[in-house]
Symmetry: C2
């Protein structure tokens, strides 16, 4: 098992990401291929012994504000492009990066290609829900606008993901919307609802963002713009609530007595949310395991993202999605019988 880690994406310095990679090597007994500035990586790894790892020297950086398609096309010596090419060439089993989401998507499309019969890959994020489970929200940023057919594909891929990797026996798929009733939403949502209701057997209706986090749906589909807005709103509200609560507790004399007893609980809460949030989002629909970590990922988050990649490889996620999508589309009359190209 060899997993490439892009050490140059995201907000944190490479040293932080490398630390996460090292932890993954030790925890999961795998090999990590560090892509980035070779000299810097060697300096960081110097303090460790007996590490199963190697380095891809690719010092070119793709910045967070760069045009994704430009960057993926032109920066061929970036850790992003070189890392993904390693997967294509069979030199690695998976690729993990906290980089510019659009650039990762573009690089994956150019170098790995789409799965047969998938129109557009999507990025899925596992949202922790109040009932203790997770809901896969897809797409959260790969495609700003999506057709109903693309949402169907997200639903199909998400269903396979939740079955095969998360052990959910009968995944329920919802459509992210501003109301539960069928006639809700903008033009796109209305069309999507009608289409999904007709075509997706396990479609279970509209789901509002506040309802989603209570639980009850295993996969929720949306276009990338709406999904990204929703996700960032979740993140912002949680972060502000926790900070507000801590600030509020500080000010109250009464609460000050309670704080020593409470602190472990608050810390655990923050960790659980962070760990879930930063588990790493799979790019579903490309011909290779690509996991996008949160841009703000620290070492623990990177380690988790690598774990997600490992599990995806072990469960043959790509093969299962490819076969599963083909079967679903044949079943729905949207594709021709025969093994996928």
């Amino acid at each position: 098992m060899r997993i490439v880690l892009d050490t140059q994406g995201g907000d944190r310095p490479p040293a932080e990401l490398i630390a996460g990679g090292v932890a993954a090597i030790r925890e999961y007994n795998i090999e990590v291929i560090f892509a980035g500035d070779q000299a810097l990586i060697e300096r960081e790894l110097d303090r460790y012994r007996d590490l199963r790892c190697s380095i891809i020297d690719a010092p070119e950086i793709v910045r967070m504000d760069e045009s994704p398609i430009e960057a993926a096309r032109k920066k061929k010596n970036s850790s992003l492009v070189q890392g993904i090419r390693a997967v294509r060439k069979g030199e690695a089993d998976a690729f993990v990066s906290p980089a510019n989401t659009g650039a990762v998507m573009a690089a994956a499309l150019f170098n790995l290609g789409r799965l047969h019969e998938i129109d557009r890959p999507g990025i899925g994020v596992l949202v922790p829900t109040l009932d203790g489970r997770r809901t896969l929200l897809i797409d959260v940023g790969a495609n700003a606008e999506c057709t109903p057919e693309q949402l169907l594909e997200f639903g199909v891929m998400g269903t396979i993901y939740m079955k095969e990797l998360m052990g959910v026996s009968d995944p329920r798929v919802g459509l992210l919307n501003i109301g539960e009733e069928p006639q809700k939403g903008d033009q796109q949502a209305l069309k999507a609802f009608t289409y999904l209701e007709q075509e997706l057997p396990n479609f279970a209706g509209n789901v509002e963002p506040n309802r989603l986090v209570e639980g009850g749906f295993d996969v929720v589909v949306c276009d990338g713009f709406t999904g990204n807005i929703c996700l960032k709103a979740y993140e912002g509200a949680i972060a502000v609530t926790v900070r507000y609560l801590k600030r509020h507790i500080d000010r109250s004399l009464l609460a000050k007595f309670g704080l020593p007893f409470l602190w472990p609980s608050l810390k655990r809460l923050k960790q659980e949310i962070s760990a879930a949030q930063y588990g790493g989002a799979p790019l579903l629909g490309v011909r290779g395991v690509v996991i996008i970590a949160h841009g703000n990922s620290n070492a623990v988050a990177i380690q988790n993202a690598i774990r997600v990649a490992k599990e995806a490889v072990e469960h043959d996620l790509i093969g299962k999605i490819e076969r599963g999508v083909h079967e679903s589309l044949v079943h729905l009359g949207l594709a021709v019988e025969g093994s996928p190209a």
Copy 2:
């Protein structure tokens, strides 16, 4: 000062809403006109003495799941329509309802009409931010899709609202988007950014949902679908975080010692968030003060919504918006000089 309260909208029973109305009468020294089932209202009010109030007998109900335009057109004997007509006829100064947002919007459009030069009214919600202030997010549900010109109008109206009612001297206006950089978002967001940058003097750029709740923008504009998704995501994340925290604290033995000291703080937090959330959202751009309370409003929330209505009337919000919009549009070369019709 006479304010109509629709006692039949929302999730809570009329008795709850009426209690909020009574509290408003006492607190703010105003008259409330209760619209709804007369017999029921009289029964509820029977326990009080010396109340400045009257009743509009309009027992027809507009349900949450009804088609807004149908309901507003056909259910002429509903508390919604009768209440708004009272404002049109000059029998009341403002209208407050926790009803079906679309129906309130439709009824307001049909019976009060738009302000001159406003293409589409929008619903603004004051989102509490970490810096202790509020940001007006508009539109959160009146219009699923919006043109850049309509977003500009929201920005102009929102600016006037924050200046005149919230005392903000130089309101900054942002565009809700999935990234801060100028080239971010879907087709609509890209067009909107370009337009707002050119046309709105106090436009301060894109703002992501997680950044919004930290503070720094006084008005944030968006189409109603995106705004509604964002708002519901905020609400859901906060609610789930608070419930998770309480559940988490219950389970921890250590934290159990802290709970008696902590409880007042948690309660205060919930109340602050609720009160802010449930302050009542103004419908900006119609020829009358219409405040839409949260569907889940309890008596306190209703009382707050009535207070918002009162303040809007006292500050001549409608007149200021009308004049302010006219001035802005003339200044921007988008309207002709001369007093608004």
